[in-house]
Symmetry: C2
Subunit: 417 residues, 2 copies
C-alpha cells in the first residue's frame, strides 16, 4: 500500500525533508513497512525557483480533503496558520509530524487529545534538540524510569554566543554579530537570546516526563543579554563556564516540579560544560538509569529533517495513536499548584559587586559566610566576586537591596547549576 505525504512549508526544514526522503527513500520505506511518496508541498504563494514544481500547492483545503494523504509534515513554524492546519488534518484522520516547538509548547495537550480521538498521531521529535533523538528515548527507552531531572542546553544560537564569549573573550554584542554573520541568529534574535526558545523546549520535555502540560508563561525565564566578559572570567576562576540552562526537576517529597530557564554557572566536571558552539546537550536523570546524556546538532536543515522523517516512519507504521506519547492539559490554577515558585527555592549564586569602600568587605564576608573571593585580570580595586551560600531568590534580592542602600551595587548575578 502506498501512503502519501504532504509537507506544509518549504523553507529550510521543508526542503530538507524532501531532500532526505528522496535520498534514503528505499531504506525509509523498508523501515516504514510500506511505500511512501510526497504528494504535496504547501506554499503560501508560487515559488518558481523551487524544484518539485509538480508537488507545490497553494490551497490547503485540497490537501486537507485528499483521502490519499496519510501523513502531514508541518514545518511552517509559529502558531497561525500552523495550529489551524494541524487541527484540521488531525480531525480528517491524518497523522502529523511537526518540528514546531512553539505549537507544541502552546497547544500540545489539545492537539494530542484530538489525535487520540481520531486514532492518529502527532509526533514532534524535531521540536526539541533538532537531530538528537530525545522525545522518543524519553517516553519509550527510559519508560522503566521515573524521570527525576532534565537539564539541557537547548538553544544553539545562545550556546554559540556563549562559546565565543568564553573562548574568544568577546562581548555579548560582538558574539551576537558573529552569530548573525554566520547565519546562526535570526534577524530578530530575541526569542533565542531572551531564553524563550529554550523555555518552549523544556516545557515540552517536562510535559512529557511529568504528564501535565507545563505552559511557558508559568515558567521563570531569563536570557543572556546581560552577561559580560567579566562574568565569564570569574566563572573560569571558579572552575566552570556560563551556559544557558533549561531545567526541570521533580521534587521527591512534594512531587511538585521546579522548572526554569536561566544562564547558570556549570562546573567543568559536568558533561554539559563541554557542549559547545551550536551543539545541544540534554542530561536526563532517571531513578534507575542514572544520568544519560544526549548530544548533537540542535538545529540545521538535515539534522532536523532526519528527526521529522523518523516521525513520518512511525506515523506510517502505527495503526493507532502511540499512547506513551501523551500528557494532560493543565489549567492556570493547576499550574500554580504543580509548579514550584522559583523565588522560594534556595540556590547558590555567583555575585559580582561594586563596593563604595574597601572596608565594606568585612560586612560582605559576614553576610555570605566568608565566601572565597574570585579573581580576574585587571580587576578594579573595589570590585569583588564570589559564590554565595544557599538563599532563595527572594531572600537574596532582599539582601542586595539593603546593600544597595549602603552604596554596594550589583554588577552581576548568576545562579549555580
Amino acid at each position: 500500500m502506498m501512503k502519501k505525504i504532504a509537507i506544509l512549508g518549504c523553507g529550510t526544514v521543508g526542503s530538507g525533508v524532501a531532500e532526505v526522503f528522496y535520498k534514503n527513500r528505499t531504506s525509509i520505506e523498508q523501515k516504514a513497512g510500506c511505500q511512501l511518496d510526497i504528494k504535496y508541498i504547501y506554499v503560501r504563494r508560487p515559488h518558481p525557483e523551487l524544484p518539485w514544481q509538480d508537488k507545490l500547492c497553494t490551497d490547503f483545503d485540497t490537501i486537507a480533503n485528499d483521502p490519499e494523504v496519510h501523513i502531514v509534515v508541518e514545518v511552517m513554524g509559529g502558531i497561525e496558520p500552523a495550529y489551524r492546519f494541524v487541527k484540521t488534518c488531525l480531525q480528517n484522520k491524518k497523522s502529523i509530524a511537526t518540528a514546531n516547538k512553539e505549537l507544541i509548547a502552546c497547544k500540545g495537550a489539545e492537539l494530542l487529545a484530538i489525535a487520540k480521538q481520531n486514532h492518529v498521531n502527532i509526533l514532534f521529535e524535531a521540536s526539541v534538540g533538532g537531530g538528537i533523538p530525545i522525545i522518543r528515548p524519553l517516553h519509550q527507552c527510559l519508560g522503566a524510569n521515573e524521570i527525576d531531572d532534565i537539564q539541557g542546553i537547548l538553544n544553539g544560537t545562545t550556546n554559540f554566543i556563549l562559546t565565543k564569549m568564553i573562548r574568544n573573550g568577546m562581548s555579548f554584542q560582538q558574539a551576537l554579530d558573529k552569530a548573525s554573520e554566520l547565519g546562526y541568529a535570526e534577524a530578530d534574535p530575541s526569542a533565542d537570546v531572551d531564553g524563550i526558545d529554550a523555555c518552549r523546549k523544556i516545557c515540552i520535555l517536562a510535559s512529557l516526563a511529568y504528564g501535565k502540560h507545563i505552559y511557558p508563561e508559568y515558567v521563570h525565564c531569563e536570557g543572556i543579554t546581560h552577561l559580560t566578559p567579566q562574568d565569564v572570567e570569574y566563572a573560569k576562576d571558579w572552575g566552570g563556564v556560563i551556559k544557558l540552562i533549561a531545567k526541570a526537576t521533580r521534587c521527591p517529597q512534594t512531587r511538585k516540579i521546579s522548572i526554569e530557564v536561566a544562564p547558570m554557572l556549570v562546573a567543568d566536571e559536568s558533561q554539559l560544560s563541554t557542549v559547545d558552539d551550536v551543539f545541544n546537550g540534554i542530561l536526563v536523570t532517571g531513578d534507575a538509569t542514572g544520568d544519560v546524556l544526549f548530544y548533537g546538532k540542535g538545529a540545521g536543515k538535515l539534522p532536523t529533517a532526519s528527526s521529522v522523517i523518523s516521525d513520518v516512519i512511525d506515523c506510517a507504521k502505527s495503526a493507532d495513536t502511540i499512547d506513551t506519547l501523551y500528557w494532560e492539559d493543565c489549567t492556570a490554577q493547576e499550574s500554580a499548584s504543580i509548579i514550584e515558585n522559583w523565588e522560594l527555592l534556595p540556590v547558590q549564586s555567583y555575585l559580582r559587586l561594586q563596593l563604595a569602600d574597601r572596608c565594606q568587605l568585612e560586612k560582605i564576608r559576614e553576610i555570605f559566610s566568608l565566601p572565597v573571593l574570585l579573581a580576574r585580570k585587571n580587576q578594579p580595586e573595589n570590585e569583588i566576586a564570589f559564590v554565595t551560600p544557599y538563599f532563595s531568590p527572594e531572600q537574596l534580592n532582599g539582601i542586595l537591596e539593603n546593600l544597595k542602600k549602603e552604596g554596594i551595587s550589583l554588577l552581576g548575578k548568576i545562579r549555580l547549576l
Copy 2:
C-alpha cells in the same frame, strides 16, 4: 489482560529487574498498556536467601510450557544454557528481553529469524551501553539516516582503568587492582581488558546498522594490557587521551565495513575524550543528522535493569515482530567480502621507539616525513615518540621490522582515532 513475565537468572541484573519492576510498576503497566506481573524467577539451585521465594523456580520446562508466560527476561549471561532456553521460549511464542551481549553477538541473526517466524520479539537494548538507550535510537530514531560511522567507548572496566592511568599516573596493573577492589573488574578480567566485550558490542551495533551479522571472530581486536604510563604522558603532550575504541565505518565507495577494537589516541576536541570512569559513550554519525552522542552508565544493576524493562514494555505492546530490528545471517565467505581487511587500511599511528644511537634520529625523520617529536618528563635520551603519516598496519610493520634490524626497537604503538 494480564501478561506474565519470567526472569531467567537472579544475579545482579535479574534482581535489579525485579526491583525496578515493583518500584515503578504502575507507570510501567501504563506504558505497556496492560497489567504485568513476574510469575517465575529461574535459578539453577534453591536460594533461600533471596526475596521472591514464591516465584523461584529451578525447572526451566515449567516456564517454557506455561502458556501464561508472555515475556521472558534472559539475564544469565554466556552462551549455554541461555541459547537453548531463549530458542525454546521463542519457539513457544514467548518474547525475549535479554542483556546478553555474547548471545546476541554470536547467535543474533538466528534468534532474530526464529522470533520473526513465531511473530514474537527478541529485544536486547541492555546488551550494549547498559542504561544508555542506543539499540532503539539506532534502528528507530535515526531511521531516516544511512549510518556512516559508529565510534564507541563500550566497556566501563577498561575505561575506568584508562581514566586511572591518565588522571593518577597509575600503571595498568595498579589501575586493574583498583578496579577489582571497587568491584568494577571480574575475577578473570580478560574479556574486558583484551577488548572482547567491546568487540561483541560493536558487532551488535554494526549488524544492526548495516543489516548483516558481523561475527566477532572476523573483527580485529586489541586490548589495553600493553599500555604504559609513558604512552599516556606522550598522548597528553600530543593533545589527547588513550581510550579503548570500538569502531565501525561503512566506506562510501566500496560499501564495505571497516570494524575494529583497539586502544586509540583520541584528541581532546572529541566528545569521546571526556567520557571517563565507568561511563560509556557512543558517537553515531548519520548522513542527515551528523554526529549524535549517547552517554551514560554502561553497566550496573539499575541502569541495565532499566533498559531490560524498556524492552519488556515493548514486548508487551507489540502485536507482532518489530521489523526494523533485524539483520541477516552472514557466512564466513560473505564476511570476508563485506569486512575490510584492517591490515590494508591506512591510519596514522603514535610510535614510541628506543634508538640505539641518537644519530638514528635523522633516518626516522626521513622515513616518517619530519614528524613533530613528543616530550615527557624524565624522558630517556634515546627514547623518541611521534605521530606517523598514514600507513597501513602492514606497511608500518614492514618499516618497524627494518628498523629493528638496525637496533631501533618498538616501545609503544597506538593508532589515532
